[in-house]
Amino acid sequence: MYPEELKYTDDHEWVRVENGKAYVGVTHYAQEQLGDVVFVELPDIGEEFEMGDSFGVVESVKTVSDLFMPLSGKVVEINEDLEDSPEAVNEDPYGEGWIIAIELSDESQLDQLMDSEAYQKTLE
């Protein structure tokens, strides 16, 4: 449910650092709380945000939730497939359901994120 190799935030997002980029998505818990995801509003490539800024929105039938930057940085990739199949966020939150990739402006911020165990504690 909460892969060991990922980092987590209080806002129920996960981060995976890969080839100098950080991929971001929402956790299993978040997708369960949202219910059927019907739309993900993505930022533009090249937009820059500070840690904690809202960078997009995820919508289910009857709720709307902001997506928050887990780390400061520039958006370098967005998951355009979500436009046609937003359900990937429910079905495969850590894989096909990734949302954006960012180029970090301050790698030391990674230390502020939780590991899988700490995150699961917050869910209890």
Binding site: V38, E59, V61, E87
Partner: protein
């Protein structure tokens, strides 16, 4: 053999559902330059008159309505809509009156509106009322614009905060944003009323006003309302009364007397005009004297028994729509008030409150009630017990009501009650109907214990069953298109 085809699927070339006289002027070519002409005709359906009629009558029979069953939709006041109102609003002297006709020709209409304004002032304890806003949300927006204009006029446009309790309706914050304001939410206390301490904390010289319903969305009369008004006024803010729940207090309490500066009424809730399947409504806005100069243009005035439209009001916020309001709806509300009078309206509120308390006490035996004390015209029941004990949600419970020919309450609102069911029986339901409703609700509570799985599949007998809303939102189909 009730077909459910779309009208477009019934279309066949050459059929028609209308007739017009032959053109009696000499036909001219070249009236329209080539590039302004429509190239392909709009592909509207081709159907005969009788087929159109049957189409709509069949559609009408797929609806639940006040006229065919109990409709306890909280905060919406789904009361009986008197038929006389339908008749009189269609009188040619009203329906065929053009809004650009002169004041001389429209004295009756202007008088009716001026009188209705007086009645609404009296019922709300206000000084003047504009009838222009088309709906409650439209009234809210106009009311907030008045607040803005008032502060601006006094050099206080830095006041940008509007306070809204966490039980407030979603339109409140949405209207706030449209008016260039920001929402500050405050929590309710353990009795479901405004938390005075929380209120004091947010009151400062940035506050433009507060928006409240009273009774609030939980159905409780705000017991500290005078203190709330005093505190907000002391900080320089204004008080806005959302009239969604005014059906509870007619003749018993007036927002103007409580200390409110502005209010809107929903004529389609409190004053018996039909909801129309979602409009037309009407949302007149009343104010105290200090806000009168800012009311939308025009206002209706009288001099020596002659009514006229006054546009010469330099401080007005302007107009919020065309013309004078949803006039046809105003005619209905006027008639309603005239048929009930002061004693009738008071009886309306009495019966509405009594009906709500009666079923609340009965249902408290089988359902959870977060706040258990006397309510006004509505109350918020919770499906928490059924959810915790049997995994049956509020959705499951209310979908079962559909199989009993009862419209569900407002659900999952207000947000501060888990698994909420907001129930407003209104005064136009008899004790017999209420007893039947209670019996059905008890039966459902029992089924939740005995056969929860069956509940989760309901409804079974409606024209369609549970619909795939996620699919509709993921892949929106918002119009019919021909195959291929």
């Amino acid at each position: 053999m009730k077909d459910r085809d779309l009208i477009f699927e019934k279309s066949r070339p050459g059929k028609k559902g209308y007739s017009l006289p032959e053109l009696d002027v000499p036909q001219k070519q070249d009236l329209l330059p080539e590039n302004l002409q429509r190239k392909n005709p709009a592909p509207l359906p081709e159907v005969a008159e009788g087929e159109v009629l049957r189409h709509y009558i069949n559609l009408s029979q797929l609806n639940h309505s006040v006229d065919n069953g109990f409709y306890p939709l909280g905060s919406c006041t789904m009361k009986y809509n008197p038929k006389i109102n339908e008749d009189v609003s269609r009188l040619p002297g009203f329906a065929e009156l053009h809004p650009y006709q002169s004041e001389e020709m429209t004295q009756g209409a202007l008088k009716l509106m001026a009188e209705l304004e007086k009645y609404l002032c009296e019922i709300g304890g206000m000084d003047r009322v504009t009838l222009q806003p088309a709906a409650g949300a439209h009234g809210e927006l106009a009311g907030l614009m008045l607040i803005r204009a008032y502060h601006r006029h006094r050099g206080q446009d830095h006041r940008k905060k509007i306070i809204i309790p966490d039980s407030g309706h979603g339109t409140n914050p949405a209207s706030v944003t449209m008016c260039g304001y920001e929402t500050v939410e405050i929590p309710s206390d353990d009795k479901g009323c405004i938390d005075l301490e929380a209120l004091k904390e947010v009151l400062d010289d940035k506050v433009a006003g507060i928006m409240l319903t009273n009774p609030n969305t939980l159905g409780f009369y705000e017991e500290n309302i005078s203190e709330v008004c005093r505190l907000v006024h002391e900080s320089g803010g204004l008080l806005y009364y959302d009239g969604a729940n005014a059906n509870a207090i007619m003749g018993y309490s007036r927002p103007g007397d409580m200390g409110f500066d502005i209010l809107h009424f929903n004529l389609h809730k409190t004053f018996g005009t039909p909801h129309g399947g979602g409009g037309p409504g009407s949302g007149p806005v009343g104010v105290k004297d200090k806000l009168v100069p800012f009311l939308p243009n025009p206002m209706i005035e009288e001099e020596d028994g002659k009514y006229f439209l006054d546009y010469d009001r330099p401080q007005s916020i302007g107009r919020v729509r065309s013309f004078f309001g949803n006039f046809g709806v105003l005619v209905k509300a006027f008639t309603y008030i005239r048929m009930l009078g002061a004693e009738g309206l008071k009886q309306v509120s009495e019966d509405a409150v009594l009906n709500a308390n009666y079923i609340m006490e009965k249902l408290a035996k089988s359902y959870h009630l977060k706040y258990h004390r006397n309510c006004m015209h509505e109350f918020v029941l919770s499906g928490k017990k059924q959810k915790d004990e049997h995994g049956v949600t509020t959705t499951d419970i209310v979908k079962n009501l559909l199989d009993h020919g009862i419209h569900p309450p407002t659900v999952y609102f207000p947000l501060i009650v888990e698994e909420a069911m907001m129930i407003e029986p209104t005064e136009t339901e008899s004790k017999e109907t209420l007893d039947e409703f209670v019996a059905v609700m008890e039966k459902i509570a029992k089924m939740a214990e005995e056969d929860p799985e069956k509940l989760k599949e309901a409804p079974y007998t409606t024209p369609v069953r549970r619909l795939d809303e996620a699919g509709a939102a993921r892949n929106p189909i918002l119009k019919w298109e021909p195959k291929g």
